[in-house]
């Protein structure tokens, strides 16, 4: 595009400053580039990073772009698991072939934002940002996914996603999330998100629920209401014991509602009674959040079992 001259010799084109950007072609090259430039920041879709840059909160000295690492932009099968590249975009995960494989992750990817965000934002970026509203996170928590982390010298180590999100086992300097290992369960999975609007928006609360018929288990995670996804383990076990796994996975309708309440109460517990035994009621906004979680969990289980 050429420059356009306006009144008083004004033009509409500003010269751009150059920046140090490395574009490695493999995961190990990327790790090496980070090791060589400890001040460099890795960038994949940039949907979170560039917001921080544009608002002046982050001024990266250099960038390591992960967009050209083709090995992490697809997926492969491995011992009943799928090995998902961290560079998979939300748009790619939302497509029908992926949805047939891991339906809940596909649903979360489709709900993750407007098309521009879904085209750029990646699975690995969602995990690395670990924002409470990250839509993929409750799904990965429910699936009990494992991260494969690439380190210097071709090193690889595995970390459960919940450990990373809880801060039990953090990414170390120079490490990158390479792959996400997710079990293939061949059973219904649901991801539901309440946003308070019809267009794409941040989750007020979200629920991911997966069935594991082989282990006769129900696994559920609630997102967006806490810094990391919450797993209502007791509620999961309780409802799994009520499901007639051999007979269309039938469950009594009252059990759905009870499951919803159980999940909600586990994630948003009643306040501890004071010494005199009196209980402060939850504030209205928190009560609404609890009702929202209950409705989402009930609907999610209902859809998974229908």
């Amino acid at each position: 595009m050429g420059q356009r001259e306006g009144a008083a010799g004004l033009t509409t084109h500003a010269p751009q400053a150059a920046q140090a950007v490395t574009l490695p072609a493999s995961l190990d090259e990327a790790v090496a580039a980070l090791a060589a430039m400890p001040a460099a920041v890795p960038v994949a879709g940039g949907t979170d990073l560039m917001t921080a840059v544009n608002s002046g909160q982050l001024r990266p000295a250099a960038l390591v772009g992960l967009g050209r690492i083709s090995e992490i932009r697809g997926w492969q099968y491995l011992d009943g698991h799928a090995l998902l590249g961290a560079g998979l975009t939300h748009a790619r995960m939302g497509r029908p072939d992926f949805a047939a494989l891991i339906p809940a992750l596909a649903a979360a990817a489709r709900a993750a934002g407007p098309p521009q965000i879904r085209n750029a934002g990646t699975l690995g970026g969602n995990i690395a940002s670990a924002a409470p509203m990250g839509d993929a996170l409750p799904v990965l928590a429910a699936l009990e996914a494992t991260l494969i982390i690439a380190g210097p010298g071709g090193a690889r180590r595995e970390v459960p996603v919940s450990h990373l999100l809880a801060g039990v086992d953090m990414l170390r300097g120079g490490e990158l999330i390479g792959y996400v290992r997710v079990p293939l369960l061949h059973a219904p999975q649901v991801f539901l998100k309440a946003t308070g609007r019809t267009g794409p928006g941040r989750a007020i609360a979200s629920v991911a629920l997966v069935l594991d018929p082989a282990r006769r288990g129900v696994r559920c995670a609630v997102g967006a209401i806490a810094p990391m996804p919450l797993r209502p383990l007791e509620a999961e076990q309780w409802v799994a014991s009520l499901i007639d796994w051999d007979n269309n996975r039938a469950v009594a309708p009252e059990a759905l509602a009870a499951f919803g309440e159980y999940v909600a109460a586990a994630c948003i517990p009643d306040p501890v009674p004071a010494e005199d035994g009196s209980v402060q009621p939850l504030p209205p906004a928190v009560l609404h959040l609890r009702r929202t979680v209950a409705a989402l969990a009930r609907r999610a289980l209902g859809r998974a079992l229908s």
């Binding site: 544009n54 489709r110 308070g196 019809t198 609404h288 929202t292």
Partner: protein, 769 residues
């Protein structure tokens, strides 16, 4: 798919407009449309000058604090920094303001809102400028902010002018009057931000004569020039404001908090200085819709006729007055809506707080009261067991009725016709009627909506706004029309903000002069003033001025011919560049008649004067009124409280359709802004600090949130005092749609819905409720 996208259909919109290619009534496309869609249209943020410096503004991180000291030494010493200015560097007036001059250019002793400018820096790189602004050391003594407008009355004065900006105690009729049925309500309206799609930007270029040129997306260039000149201590002639492309304006879009420092920095450094606001600064800097608290009591007789309305209206003006006085006048005057109310007692206050500043946003004052009085009408209908549309029809005003201000409505007021049109329009199909369609549930395509939990509601809103400035404002505009070589040019300082004025000006000249090729010159303050772009002013006053100037040119053109043939100019007509007489005897072309001459004419349009409201809120304060009725259909997920507006059917009083395509677009845009005010748009604060000043936290409606918009009827009853008989169309749909949506959510859930935007918890139906 048809139900899911925002579609607008015009039913019964008058004569077939597609046959017209130019002139009044044609759907003439905007001359700027292709440049804007191709991305080549130059906005202020695109401007560049050789050797320019970049400005950054240091803004207060506190909503209320005393400034103990400002130390700019470090900032000045940074490499690349060329100038740092604070309140000490303002050579002229230290205070400015649209209504009252009460806002400092830079805070000197006290900061009164989050984001108030304290200093500005010019540097050779935008990052350097920002870092230098951050390096200005300001020592604050943090004070308790006043954030609850109800506390403002009792609180220590936040400003030497006091905390009460205006109080209107409107009294109309008999205070003893009462009805059998009484309903009461308390309503809260949130802080809508105009959120222009292009954030603020500008370029200041110093002039050799010691003056300065400001390239701004100003919507009121002359007022901005005068403010700037006063601040710089210069004569107005030495400051020139050149209007660049305006990237969206549903309000007084410009934040003078950066405009004034920009010129100061240019004058101080002798270099061009450019500023582009971040989205966060944009949210902090410009004015917002007044958050409002309203308390209402309606009295009606057993038949549902309104007897008396009592109301208290409290506008949160934020730290500075701006146009709060005008907003309050509108809120108080239209507090009862387009209904006949014989007795009205309305107290209105606009008060100062440490919240973000409020000012002119489309439908100011009128939007807030519309949501409240329509909620009251719903309550009344429920109490009387009456159909809500029927109750409204029993009370609607018509031409000749009297407003609570004592002003008689002399313009067309076809309110009943509008309401009947939307009531009788067929309702959209229910999902069960069209099961083959993939129905969009509340919560969106990937949302959690469940058909079993969805309830549908139908509600009504009837709204009114005034056009032009009120209470004695001199609403004048001047325009010049020039014709040369078969081409007409319009010079008028009316700013094209997207409202379509330039297209309208072309149509007016085409209509009057029969010349198809019309250009509209760009705007600067060397032209005579046309006033601000708001309240439908330019359709009225600038359109009127263009018409008069065009008619004067027409007379100049035809006079010699008419004289030659011994007939009056009225007997000659111009069409498609040809001049013909009524009897067809004379026929010549415009080019021939011009004979190489250049014809110029300048004219003014000044509507009839108005008067200020008196001590009891009485007076003929408004030039013209416009009305609108909307029927909203919503789907609510009653467990999650998510709302989807399925359809808004609208009927509007437009006077005359000047450009059907543009009119439809304006109505759709207005309605959609109203959807935002109803459901998602609220700039949140916590103890005066703005939370989430970004477009993720501040949720504007997207295509999925926008409903199907059905323009059921456009009533073309010409307003005899307005040029062309046309009324402004943009504001009244904004005012009315939130009320209609809230009414529909009320119908769907049975909940009171007394707060806008409607929060999910207000639309949830829990057992036992």
């Amino acid at each position: 798919m048809s139900k899911e996208t925002a579609t607008a259909t015009t039913v019964d919109a008058g004569p077939a407009p597609d046959q017209l290619t130019h002139g009044i009534g044609a759907s003439l496309p905007s001359a700027e449309a292709s440049a804007k869609t191709e991305g080549t249209f130059p906005y202020a943020a695109d401007l560049w000058a050789e050797g320019l410096l970049w400005a950054a503004v240091l803004r207060s991180p506190h909503p209320h604090a005393r400034i103990v000291s400002i130390d700019t030494t470090h900032a000045r010493e940074m490499a690349g920094v060329r100038a740092v200015v604070t309140h000490e560097d303002v050579p002229g007036a230290a205070l400015y303001g649209r209504g009252t001059a009460d806002r400092p250019v830079f805070a000197s002793e006290v900061v009164r809102h989050h984001g108030e400018p304290i200093a500005a820096v010019a540097a050779d790189h935008p990052d350097t400028a920002r870092m230098a602004a951050a390096a200005v050391i300001v020592e604050y003594e943090v004070l308790d902010p006043v954030t609850d407008p109800e506390q403002a009355f009792e609180a220590e004065p936040l400003h030497p002018d006091g905390n009460l900006i205006r109080h209107i105690p409107l009294r109309h009729g008999d205070s003893e009057a009462g009805g059998e049925i009484v309903v009461e309500g308390l309503y809260r309206i949130g802080r809508q931000d105009p959120a222009p799609i292009g954030a603020e930007a500008g370029l200041a270029v110093p002039r050799p004569d010691g003056g300065v040129e400001l390239y701004l997306a100003s919507t009121d260039p002359h007022a901005d020039r005068d403010t700037a000149a006063a601040c710089y201590g210069l004569e107005p002639e030495r400051v020139k404001v050149v209007v660049t492309g305006v990237p969206g304006a549903a309000a007084d879009r410009e934040d003078q908090g950066f405009q004034l420092p920009l010129g100061l920095l240019a004058l101080k450094t002798g270099c061009p200085v450019k500023f582009t606001a971040t989205r966060e600064e944009s949210f902090l800097g410009h004015v917002h819709r007044h958050p409002t608290l309203l308390r209402y009591r309606h009295h009606a007789d057993a038949e549902g006729k309104l007897v008396k309305v009592e109301a208290q209206i409290l506008l949160d003006a934020g730290a500075y007055a701006d146009t709060s006085s005008d907003a309050l006048a509108a809120a108080v005057s239209f507090a009862c809506g387009p209904y006949v109310v014989p007795n009205a007692f309305i107290e209105g206050w606009a008060v100062r707080t440490n919240n973000p500043p409020s000012g002119h946003v489309r439908g100011e004052g009128a939007l807030q009261v519309c949501a409240a009085y329509e909620a009251q009408m719903d309550k009344l209908a429920k109490k009387l067991g009456m159909d809500p549309a029927e109750l409204r029809l029993r009370n609607v005003m018509a031409t000749g009725d009297v407003l609570p201000t004592g002003q008689t409505v002399t313009c067309p007021a076809p309110v009943a016709e509008l309401l009947e049109a939307v009531r009788d329009f067929p309702l959209p199909a229910l999902p069960k009627d069209t099961p083959e369609e993939e129905w969009l549930l509340p919560g969106g395509p990937e949302g959690a909506g469940e058909p079993g939990a969805v309830r549908r509601g139908v509600g009504y809103g009837v709204g009114m706004v005034h056009m032009l400035g009120a209470e004695g404002a001199d609403e004048v505009s001047t325009a010049t029309v020039k014709v040369h070589d078969g081409v007409a040019t319009v010079l008028c300082a009316a700013v094209e903000t997207g409202q379509g004025f330039t297209t309208l000006a072309r149509q007016i000249v085409q209509e009057t002069l029969g010349i198809e090729e019309v250009h509209v010159a760009s705007v600067d303050t060397d032209q005579p003033t046309a006033g601000p772009s708001c309240r439908g002013r330019h359709t009225w006053v600038s359109g009127g001025a263009v018409e008069r100037a065009a008619k004067m040119v027409r007379t100049q053109l035809l006079q010699p011919l008419a004289h030659k043939f011994g007939m009056s100019t009225e007997l000659l007509q111009i069409t498609d560049g040809k001049i013909t007489s009524y009897d067809g005897v004379l026929s010549t072309t415009v080019t021939e008649a011009m004979d190489g001459k250049e014809l110029w004419a300048t004219a003014q349009c000044r509507p009839h004067p108005t008067e200020p409201l008196d001590a009891e809120g009485q007076g003929d304060a408004f030039v013209g009124l416009a009305f609108c009725a909307i029927r909203a259909v919503v789907d609510v997920d009653i467990e999650l409280g998510s709302v989807r507006v399925v359809e808004l059917a609208l009927a509007q009083d437009v006077g005359r359709v000047l450009n059907p395509a543009q009119l439809t677009a304006r109505i759709e845009a207005g309605v959609t802004q109203g959807v935002g005010a109803a459901l998602t748009e609220n700039l949140r604060t916590a103890r005066g600090l703005v939370r989430h000043p970004d477009l993720t936290g501040y949720a504007l409606p997207t295509a999925l949130d926008a409903p199907a918009i059905r323009i059921v009827k456009l009533v073309e009853e010409r307003d005899v005092v307005a040029p062309f008989g046309a009324k402004a169309v943009s504001a009244v749909p904004v005012v009315t749609s939130p009320a209609a949506i809230a009414s529909a959510v009320r119908a769907a859930t049975g909940r009171p819905v007394n707060r806008l935007p409607i929060r999910p918890q207000a639309a949830v139906v829990t057992t036992g409720q």
